[in-house]
């Protein structure tokens, strides 16, 4: 994904595996990118506070531990007849 000299990085969790979800119907206007760890999704033309790691608000940053410890909603029930 990254252009030369640019390491793509998730603004939210700093993961470096980023994939392209969509491109603009008008060629070259923007791309929609997605982090492959936290699934944060953004458009390349959004403000820095949503697209740049160093401008991303602390309150919304996410870590692998946050993902691992996120509550299950709703909880997965026991299998019928086996639980």
């Amino acid at each position: 994904m990254g252009k030369e000299g640019f390491t793509p990085m998730c603004p939210r969790c700093a993961h470096e595996s980023i994939s392209k979800l969509a491109g603009s119907p008008v060629a070259g206007a923007w791309e929609v990118l997605q982090c492959q760890r936290c699934l944060y999704t953004w458009r390349t033309t959004e403000p820095d506070r949503r697209t740049k790691r160093d401008s991303y608000p602390e309150a919304f940053k996410m870590t692998q531990a946050d993902i691992d410890n996120a509550p299950e909603v709703p909880a997965i029930p026991a299998l019928r007849g086996r639980g």
Partner: protein, 475 residues
């Protein structure tokens, strides 16, 4: 008048000067959400917004704030735009009494014109998706009608559910879905997952305004949203059969997605700025796989901005929350006069009631909490006398300030259920609940000094009319 689709509703909003067409070029972010956020700050007569010139898109048509004012809600109900909130709720109650109205099944829905299946399924090709709030984890579908059936009774029309649940677009054919445990779809999903099965769903986007209202109305488990839409529209709701699932979906939708909630699977979702005026944190939520997209040619994408109240969602679900609580309470307690549960989807409710005897009012307050909606909401219920209008907040404040003695008028219940999005709940989903009895004590609850109330003079009603006539230059 009844609208069969979103387009005819938008046309009528335009006729009533309640639709603003923004034809200048705007960016998908932050313009679209900021404009809808701004519309919510324009007050009770704010217009709906329509955009068709969005950077990078060639064919985007986006409607926002369609229900986002009392004037718009009135147009959705087919009432004059100046109809007061209280009158809109009263009309809602009158029409509710006509439930059920059997829907009308129609052929050739306009959304059957275009179909994407298999490898061709791509949500980004059909929908001009965009972010709402800064901290949102992605782009959301937040005004869709999600249709599911009870896996144990797949042919039971009444147990088919139509509800609005937030959907995060997480892939070209993948959504994250939040089924609140208190909602019917969570019961459907629970049954499917206990049997290690997927739960089929149909997701209708861009609907006539009454479908959006009933999809956010807490009906009983075996009450059909389509039969309620018919009652509220005053004419049968037009429905059609979704081709993949066989489920009943609105005939007039712009786009219909079909697929399954993948059984026993959870994946990171969110956060999302919610109706509570707070973000939900990131949670591991259910995953929807889309297998088929049906859509109109040049579909209109309808979305809803929500954030710090009030925003569109409060108008959309306000009356729709008051009325089922009113009806369910009245079924057992005809003394109940009115219910205002418009605050944060009924996390707070105000109920006016006559009293049978001392202690009765707080029983009404407790019953409010055990209605289907109350189980997940109604964290605070303020009960007021029958002569206090719950929609008149200065009157409610008068009742609170003059009728309440904290020594005995607060009923504080520990560890009750509430939806886990309630930011005050601890642990999430558990909260104390509070009844505030702001009614006048009656025998044998002989507390306080309430024997000499000041009431309006007997002649005041006639003078109100007289003064109004004089003000309007009539004699």
């Amino acid at each position: 008048m009844a609208y069969d689709d979103l387009r005819s509703y938008l046309e009528e909003l335009g006729e009533q000067q309640q639709l603003l067409h923004v034809d200048e070029q705007v960016d998908p972010e932050p313009d679209l959400a900021a404009a809808a956020n701004a519309a919510a700050r324009l007050g009770e007569n704010a217009p709906a917004l329509y955009f068709d010139n969005v950077t990078g898109f060639t064919n985007a048509r986006i409607a926002l704030n369609a229900h986002g004012s009392w004037a718009n809600h009135a147009v959705a109900m087919g009432l004059p735009t100046a109809t007061s909130t209280k009158e809109q709720v009263e009309e809602f109650i009158r029409r509710w009494e006509n439930f059920p109205v059997t829907p009308e099944r129609r052929q050739d829905p306009p959304w059957s014109e275009n179909v994407l299946e298999g490898e061709d399924v791509n949500l980004f090709d059909v929908l001009p998706l965009f972010r709402l709030n800064d901290g949102d984890g992605g782009f959301y579908l937040d005004k869709a009608a999600v249709v599911s059936r009870d896996p144990d009774e797949p042919d039971n029309f009444d147990k088919q559910n139509v509800g609005t649940y937030r959907l995060e677009v997480k892939g070209t054919d993948k959504l994250g879905m939040q089924p609140v445990p208190m909602h019917d779809i969570a019961l459907h999903l629970g049954k499917a997952e206990q049997s290690d099965e997927d739960l089929p769903v149909a997701i209708a986007l861009g609907n006539d305004p009454m479908i959006s209202i009933v999809a956010g109305t807490p009906l009983g488990y075996d009450q059909s949203e389509y039969e309620m839409a018919g009652a509220l529209r005053g004419t049968p709701a037009p429905i059609a059969t979704a081709p993949l699932t066989g489920f009943d979906v609105p005939w007039g939708s712009e786009v219909v997605l079909e697929g399954v909630i993948e059984g026993r699977k959870r994946e990171i979702e969110g956060p999302f700025g919610e109706f509570t005026g707070h973000y939900s944190g990131g949670r591991n939520m259910t995953v929807v796989r889309i297998d088929r997209i049906s859509h109109r040619t040049d579909p209109i994408f309808e979305s809803l901005y929500l954030g710090m109240p009030w925003t569109e969602i409060d108008y959309l679900i306000g009356p729709a929350t008051c009325v089922p609580l009113h009806q369910q309470l009245r079924a057992e307690f005809p003394e109940v006069q009115a219910v205002n549960a418009m605050y944060t989807h009924g996390l707070l409710a105000i109920v006016s009631t006559k009293k049978r005897y001392g202690g009765f009012a707080r029983a009404v307050g407790l019953r409010t909490m055990t209605t289907p909606h109350g189980l997940g909401y109604c964290k605070m219920v303020i009960v007021v006398d029958e002569d206090v209008d719950p929609f008149n907040l200065p009157q409610v404040m008068w009742a609170l300030s003059s009728k309440v003695n904290a020594a005995n008028d607060l009923v504080n219940l520990p560890n009750m259920s509430v939806l886990e999005l309630d930011p005050g709940s601890q642990p999430p989903g558990i909260s104390n609940k509070l009844v505030i009895d702001a009614t006048t004590p009656v025998s044998p609850d002989n507390r306080g000094h309430y024997s000499q109330p000041v009431t309006d003079l007997p002649e005041t009603g006639a003078w109100v009319e007289k003064l109004q006539n004089l003000m309007h230059g009539r004699s």
